[in-house]
Amino acid sequence: MAFNRHLFDRHARRKLVNYGFVGLTMAATAVAVIALLLILWSLVANGLDGIGLHIFTMDQPPPEMPGGLRNAILGSLEMCAIGMVMAVVIGILAGTWLAEYGEGKRLAEVVRFLNDVLLSAPSILIGLFVYEILVRPLHGFSAGAGAVALAFVATPVVTRTTEDILRLQSNQLREAGMAIGAGKSYVIRAIIWRASRPGLVTGALLGFARISGETAPLLFTSLGNPNLSFALTQPMGALPTTIYQFALSAFDDWRALAWVGALLIAITVLAANIIGRALARGSHQS
């Protein structure tokens, strides 16, 4: 009997500890989810009213004048697109080298480590770095420098996901390609990349989500521009820099526009993440 009671106590204690632990993790999750919902709620509550067609057809106004965010939206799109092209080309090639050719090589370990450092580097440092190599020598802020800075932020993301995704492919698939007489690089391009396509797209979307809201790399590079401009050699407006400028201003209508811009970025980031993850899940099933 004594033995049984002892056993019961032990089970009861274990159950109690278990409940306590589950409760803690649930509380932590709740804090994170509630914080996210509050952010989204404040964006929607403050930004939704300001949204209208004029946001997309008019450029940012002087204080107390009607206007939209066209120059900032198009500027963001242009710099993100150019930055992503650079990041995807470099990132996929670098990730492929790490996964397919870097096995056991010292250089690969160094590259992987530096990539991880770059991945977590404060983006303002990247902005300063590009300022030093592109803005100062060329004597001017430019959209091109902004795109390069964004590429520096996105490249490590793409490199990392590319390497991870390619490593998921079985060695047997590689061997099967070579066993039929194809060379290694052809097997990678024609079979491994194709098998990994959903994952590679996911990597690119995650990179895009990362840079679409980046402000710091643009402050010292593309600077911002109240007028619509597509020239890569000139300063260019972007949503994050415009938000930064407007949100700190004393004018109510500017601050309202900042909320709208923030809402647009949040929607873009959310959409990119959801699509990216949905694609990744699809690829695991096939």
Binding site: A176, A179, I180, A182
Partner: protein, 285 residues
């Protein structure tokens, strides 16, 4: 052929096919994974137009031996082979020097060109490995690597290969569907079709049925027996019934050595070595 049982129980018993029939002839092969030696002086004569089965407990080196025949191992930097692998009399591991007492030459020499070697020695793996493309493209992929063919010729090659792999009837209406959409057994036959579309002389199969259900296995075996008419087949299998059913020659390996190599009928009815007798009666592995 009679054996002195006591004598045979000691060493190994090798009863090879005649020299002139050997399309592949492995002699004294040592194989290394880095510093670890996995094969010790292995001999393997492979007769043209026959099915040769390799059996033995896990880790005995039968897959390793198979993987030397198309030199797929040299994907991995630490792996190397020593000895002779004669393919149509040409030593795949040598620098092109003549080999004494070699089987007759046939076809163009390989001269160290792995692409050319693998066009003539195809391979099917343990788990199905369809490429991430349509059923049609899975077959066309390998053909295009080695030959220029018109669309009409390619259509014909695709149909013939799938027919010979006993898959045509099941997929003829969905050739544009992904190869990954097929069942495991169908995928494996697709891999066989892909291998034979290149028209190799030899087809290597590494436990091709281990991931298949009995019905799919039966279909695959039927296809293999048909294929024997045109190809030489070397198959690694854990399934002794399978080896006995379909093979002409059987090699039994143990701890990196070829212990017994004989015509399958005799080998399974009356194993010559104690080790193989223990293995086929279930006392091993």
């Amino acid at each position: 052929m009679n054996f002195d049982a006591k004598q045979a129980d000691v060493g190994s018993v090798i009863l090879p096919p005649p020299m002139e029939q050997r399309v592949l002839d492995v002699r004294g092969l040592n194989f290394f994974y880095g510093k670890h030696q996995a094969l010790f002086g292995v001999d393997l004569p492979v007769a043209r137009g026959k099915i040769t089965a390799l059996i033995g407990p896990s880790g005995c080196g039968k897959s390793t031996l198979l993987r030397t025949l198309n030199k797929i191992y040299d994907l991995y930097p630490g792996q190397r082979a020593e000895g002779q692998i004669l393919f149509n009399g040409e030593n795949l591991l040598g620098g092109g020097e003549a080999v004494e007492d070699a089987p007759p030459a046939s076809g163009a020499p390989i001269n160290g060109d792995n692409a050319r070697l693998r066009a003539r020695i195809g391979m099917v793996f343990q788990r199905p490995t369809p490429f991430p493309m349509s059923i049609y493209e899975n077959i066309a992929f390998g053909v295009r690597l080695h030959r220029n063919v018109s669309r009409a010729q390619m259509d014909e090659i695709v149909e013939t290969s799938l027919t010979r792999a006993a898959l045509w009837d099941e997929v003829k209406d969905k050739l544009d569907k992904s190869g990954l959409s097929l069942s495991g057994g169908q995928q494996q036959r697709l891999c066989v079709a892909r291998g034979i579309a290149v028209e190799p002389e030899v087809l290597l199969l590494d436990e091709p049925a281990s991931a298949l259900d009995p019905l799919s296995t039966a279909k695959l075996e039927t296809a293999l027996i048909e294929l024997k008419q045109s190809f030489t087949i070397v198959i690694v299998t854990h399934n002794l019934q399978q080896a006995a059913r379909i093979s002409d020659y059987t090699g039994f390996m143990l701890m990196g050595k070829m212990v017994e190599f004989r015509p399958s009928g005799e080998a399974f009815v009356r194993p010559a070595t104690a080790a193989m007798r223990d293995y086929v009666t279930g006392r091993y592995g």
